[in-house]
C-alpha cells in the first residue's frame, strides 16, 4: 500500500468543520469518487470533525490518498488530545451521547466508511481512522 499524498488540517472551530468538508470533497473528487461516495465520506468527516470539537477539545485531521495497486482510496485520521472515551462500545451505539448531540456521529461515520478504527483511553485523547475505497459500496 502506498500513500500518494498527505495533508494536515486543524479542526478547532465550527468554521473548520466546513473547511474539512471542502477539503475532503476536493480530494474525493480528485480520486474520481462517485457523487454518492464523495457525499458519504464528506458526511462522515463532518460528523467526526464536529465530535472532535464538541468532545475532544479540537484536534487535527490528517488526510491521505491511498493506492494499493488495485484500488484508490481516501484515509482520514482524526486525532485529539481530549479526555478520551471511557466506553468505546457505548459511544458507537446510535443514540448514545454525553453531550447535546443525537449520538449518530461515531456509529454513522462507521456506517459511511469501508474501514473504521478507533483508539481511545481516558486521559489519552482519541484517534478515529476511516477509509473509503473507490468502487467499494
Amino acid at each position: 500500500m502506498q500513500t500518494t499524498k498527505t495533508e494536515t488540517a486543524p479542526v478547532r472551530s465550527s468554521a473548520d468543520v466546513v473547511s474539512v468538508r471542502h477539503l475532503v470533497r476536493r480530494w474525493a473528487v480528485e480520486l474520481g469518487f462517485t457523487l454518492v461516495e464523495q457525499t458519504k465520506i464528506v458526511t462522515a468527516a463532518s460528523e467526526l470533525a464536529r465530535n472532535m470539537i464538541d468532545y475532544g477539545g479540537g484536534g487535527e485531521l490528517v488526510i491521505e490518498s491511498l493506492d494499493d495497486g488495485i484500488r484508490k482510496g481516501l484515509r482520514l485520521v482524526f486525532q485529539d488530545q481530549g479526555p478520551g472515551i471511557p466506553d468505546i462500545q457505548a459511544a458507537l451505539r446510535d443514540g448514545f451521547t454525553s453531550g447535546s448531540g443525537m449520538g449518530l456521529g461515531l456509529g454513522g461515520a462507521k456506517r459511511l466508511s469501508n474501514e473504521f478504527d478507533i483508539q481511545s483511553a481516558p486521559g489519552q485523547g482519541t484517534r478515529v481512522t476511516i477509509t473509503r475505497w473507490k468502487g467499494v459500496s
Binding site: 457523487l35 457525499t39 458519504k40 460528523e47 443525537m102 454513522g108 459511511l112
Partner: protein
C-alpha cells in the same frame, strides 16, 4: 457569520439555503425562522436544500427541529430539492427525518403547502358550519 435570507410570500415563508452552513449559521436560521413564523403568522415554511451537497446530523437535526417548532406554531414545513446522494447518505447515517414533509422541487413543495393550507381552511369552515 452569514445569515440565510427568509422571504415572505403570502401565508408562506421561503428559504433557499445556498451556502455550506456552519453550525452557528444553521442555528441562527432555525431561530430566525421560528421568529418570522410568529411575526407573519405564516401557515407554511418551504426550505429549498437543492444547493446542499452535504446534510450531516447537525443540519438534519436543525431541519427536523425547525419542522417540529413550526408545527407547534401552527405552520407546516416542507423541505424540497434534496439531492439523491444526500438522501442515500442521510439514511445510512441513521437520520430518517421523521416528521419532515418533503417534495421533489420548489414547485411541488408550494403545491403541497397550498393544499395543506386549503385543507385547514375548509376544515375550519366545516367546523363553523356545524356550530
Amino acid at each position: 457569520m452569514e445569515r440565510i435570507p427568509i422571504l415572505k410570500m403570502g401565508k408562506f415563508l421561503l428559504v433557499s439555503i445556498q451556502i455550506d452552513m456552519d453550525d452557528r449559521t444553521a442555528m441562527t436560521l432555525q431561530d430566525d425562522l421560528t421568529g418570522q413564523i410568529v411575526k407573519h403568522r405564516a401557515k407554511g415554511v418551504l426550505i429549498d436544500i437543492s444547493s446542499l451537497d452535504v446534510v450531516d446530523s447537525f443540519i438534519g437535526r436543525m431541519l427536523a427541529n425547525t419542522a417540529a417548532m413550526a408545527r407547534i406554531l401552527d405552520a407546516e414545513t416542507v423541505v424540497v430539492g434534496m439531492q439523491p446522494s444526500v438522501a442515500i447518505t442521510l439514511v445510512e447515517l441513521g437520520l430518517s427525518l421523521k416528521g419532515v414533509r418533503s417534495a421533489l422541487n420548489v414547485e411541488r413543495g408550494m403545491e403541497l403547502l397550498q393544499r395543506i393550507a386549503t385543507d385547514i381552511e375548509s376544515e375550519a369552515a366545516d367546523a363553523d358550519d356545524e356550530n
